[in-house]
Symmetry: C2
Subunit: 547 residues, 2 copies
């Protein structure tokens, strides 16, 4: 698979290299090394502070790529040479030797499973290892988790807004933030709940269903029937027998135009020819774009004529796509046209032809379409989905929580920015009805809460917010995924991740998931962790002086 730049164990994208990091990670690594801290055992937590898109949940993604980064961690000769050229000339040679010999063997990575619903302040990843090396990993890990989680969450939100019965296709490659933005969007949108993509490379690399038919440009290359060089198509039942398909189309055109009360001058002849040409190339996959000229006066009658001609030969057309105008109104008018034709010509399946809509759709458009009533079966969604226009970055951070067994806390005037120190366990407690009740962080050495036993769960910062919880089920969310230079936990396939997203979301109460004013989900700490956190906080906070 090397020719595709893709395999199970190397990063999907060749630019994911050890040098894809911020310079300050390198200068810090040098200073740690120089000051005798190269063997300090550090623990960093990866988390975010606020759910994106004004929502109350986030889907974690990007772990697979992080693991590939760890597996391939090394500094090449040319990397070292470049680093020498930018660091001061008195930087010690031994540091470069240290880097040249570094790899991922000292790293332990604990992580939530990809595709799990997660919440602010929770350690999604816990990275443990020699201080300089885990420091160097900060930037690439954040880069790989940030967008992956953001766009997966976005896709999951679009899925919720569209409803389970609609088909969702990702069409964002052209508007994505670069080639990789496009490629990872296709992958993670599929994980988040989309059914397919227009992106052929994503289809090839990740085994995602791909779809697509034609654009306006295709229609515009035809000016009339005289442009057609092929005229015949075989009957589906008797492939050896061909008929003059263009004549069949012309016959149906007269019938359809009469039925839909369209005059000949209204419909575009070039579009009619283009539909015929396209349907002859893909007689079993005929889906036509209706809005090059006029959806209802040209696109719809031209399509129906060709689709009925195909039907006469035994082929079933798939449907149509609209890419402009009032999608609710147009889709309803088109459906009415299909129903009329279905009855008039006694072709039952014609009433249920697929209607695809694809014009600059965002989450709000989907919600509004549902309210208005529409006849759309499939959405093609691009820009808003892949660029996450509503909020184009998640703000994942990588914070030091422990060095050589001693917990570290980062204080801030803003309580939301105070870190939760030390090595922690993360559990999800479920109620009897299978819904998640809350998440609980414990100190690393604490016992996991037992099923049907009462456990005190506290708000990490607000003293009076406490609850006794009796879980019917307890799930430990973080697992050890990487150790001794190797992935040590089976990695799910993209389809498994996709399934996990839906299972995980289903366990969440609907009020956490609704678009308007969702209820925040509770992330709590154990009493032990609460005490530990607050003791450390007081130890580290200076006493103010007023005079």
């Amino acid at each position: 698979m090397a020719s595709d730049g893709h395999s199970e164990s190397t990063p999907t994208n060749g630019v994911v290299q050890s040098l894809l990091t911020d310079l300050y990670e390198v200068t810090m690594a040098y200073s740690y090394w120089k000051n005798g801290k190269q063997n300090c055992h550090a623990i960093f937590d990866v988390f975010f502070r606020k759910n994106p898109f004004e929502g109350e949940f986030t889907i974690f993604a990007g772990l697979g790529e992080v693991l590939k980064l760890l597996q391939n961690l090394k500094y090449t000769k040319s990397d070292i040479e470049y680093l020498k050229s930018i660091l001061p000339t008195d930087t010690e040679e031994d540091f470069f030797n240290y880097l040249a010999e570094s790899d991922g063997r000292g790293i332990k990575l604990y992580s939530v499973e990809e595709g799990t619903v997660v919440f602010p302040k929770e350690p999604l990843l816990r990275v443990e290892g020699p201080l300089p090396i885990v420091q160097l990993l900060e930037t690439p890990i954040l880069n790989l988790v940030n967008y992956a989680s953001l766009v997966t969450t976005n896709a999951a939100r679009f899925r919720i807004a569209a409803g389970e019965d609609k088909k969702l296709l990702e069409f964002g490659l052209r508007r994505a933030q670069g080639p990789d933005g496009g490629l990872s969007a296709s992958k993670y949108c599929y994980a988040g709940g989309f059914d397919g993509t227009s992106n052929v490379l994503a289809g090839k690399l990740f085994d995602i269903p791909v779809s697509g038919t034609h654009a306006h440009s295709y229609i515009m290359t035809y000016t009339g029937l005289s442009d057609l060089v092929l005229r015949t198509l075989p009957l589906i039942s008797k492939p050896e027998e061909t008929v003059d398909f263009v004549t069949v189309c012309e016959k149906w055109k007269q019938k359809v135009f009469c039925c839909l009360t369209i005059s000949n001058g209204q419909a575009n002849e070039g579009e009619f020819a283009a539909f015929i040409a396209y349907s002859m190339s893909f007689p079993e996959r005929f889906l036509a774009l209706l809005d090059t000229y006029d959806v209802l006066k040209s696109g719809l009658p031209n399509f129906c004529a060709v689709a009925l001609a195909l039907n006469e030969l035994g082929y079933k057309a798939i449907g149509i796509r609209i890419d402009s105008g009032d999608l609710a109104y147009l889709s309803n008018e088109i459906r009415a046209g299909f129903q009329l034709i279905s009855k008039e010509f006694d072709v039952p399946w014609f009433a249920d032809l697929t209607i695809v809509a694809s014009n600059d759709i965002d989450e709000e458009t989907l919600l509004s379409l549902n309210q208005q009533g529409h006849s759309i079966d499939t959405y093609g969604i691009g820009t808003h989905l892949v660029t996450c226009r509503k909020q184009p970055s998640l703000g994942v951070v990588y914070k030091l929580v422990q060095v050589d067994g001693l917990a570290r806390i980062k204080l801030s005037h803003d309580v939301a920015k105070v870190t939760i120190p030390g090595q922690k366990l993360l559990c999800r407690l479920f109620g009897k009805d299978g819904h998640a009740l809350l998440d609980l962080m414990l100190k690393g050495e604490e016992q996991i809460p037992e099923v049907n036993q009462r456990v005190l769960c506290r708000h990490p910062f607000e003293e009076s917010k406490r609850a006794n919880v009796v879980p019917a089920q307890v799930e430990v969310l973080q697992k050890l995924f990487f150790e001794d230079g190797k992935v040590c936990h089976p990695l799910p396939s993209l389809k498994d991740i996709k399934e996990r997203v839906q299972t995980s979301l289903k366990s969440l109460r609907n009020d956490h998931k609704r678009a308007l004013n969702p209820t925040p989900y509770k992330v709590s700490v154990s009493n032990n962790l609460y005490q530990f956190l607050h003791d450390l906080w007081l130890d580290n906070a200076p006493i103010g002086e007023l005079s």
Copy 2:
């Protein structure tokens, strides 16, 4: 250079492959091929309809990567196999042979130079060649131009907002939309007017200055002076003579704390130790992050103590960085502190230490800081810059304008979406003072306007908007860059592009560039093109029927 995934003629990113396209480009290509259109000569224009960020200009970028795409256009055996697996089984074998033999040799690419200021409706690229092949190029070309132009424009706007005398550093890698989003952001932000990046790989691949020092985590690994394992530093004038640097720092700490009226309990001891350790690793590049604990009560005095100790040994510190709080207020207080210390201890350069600010800065923050008054010298900018939060996609489109010598027009109810048909020339007309007056599109066969000769320039759609223009200088904006499978015009270096951005922006009047209510720049058509466009429009628009 292959080991870096980077060379002059292959795409920077390995995922830029022929299959990085939408499936409908492939199905259209097949249908063109099957319907005898494989040798049709098509022309597509690449343009956008609206300047981004509520502005009135855009910087064109991405050409270099588009040319690499064209140079490397080919379908591998595994690509063809994949396509066979997703297209209908009756797809003709000869089509796959046609694809397997395809390359960029039939393509001609005309383009505006990378780094040029451009405007809505202007053809940035003109792609000519066999219809199926130029159709297949639609998606990857849009992908490569869209984000590149958007982020270059964003960077240019940040540069205008910050002013010419400030240093701008791009810090966006961790928040970018994937690894490539980060890497191209670093490249194009440099082109757009930034001075450097934190991204080491971008530094290596594109020869961009890199910068960075340390993060909060570095500070937090130290709890006090007892953590220091090194104590000595050589004198800069006598490298053979070392002094106990920690003791010197402690001495200066007392003096500084007295001068700044700080009590010992207020400043954090771990931070003091961390500054000492870091400065001993980089004695000639000491720049400290002040806001791990308290900027004015801890970070500032600790920094000044260490910087003055360095000064005693002959080293000049560089300055400080703040990453939270009120940047205007804090930077002024810090500057005042530096000035006080400078006077008190007679260290003149201390007053001018560099102040770097870097907390979630956007264009509006820069404008507001200028209004408030501040003492910041350098901005480190991440999320808003690289994700283009204000508008994360440019909306570049690829439209058919001619087939086999016959112009094509795409009509729309929305006049802004009507395309300008046919092969066109694009010129910029300049006035005597060197400022650009307007841009003019002509029909392909028209004469370029002559200097000092009057030329009628018309609004493309509004009949009454016309002006006679006498240009003092005329620049043809589109040049032939690719022909016969080869780049045929010298490609500028990244530094040349960076220079062109500034030259091009300087030729634009300030009112087009201001942040609030900028004046739209005029993009006009020649009288010939106007007539041609409107004749074709009437020929193609159906006559409505009311009854």
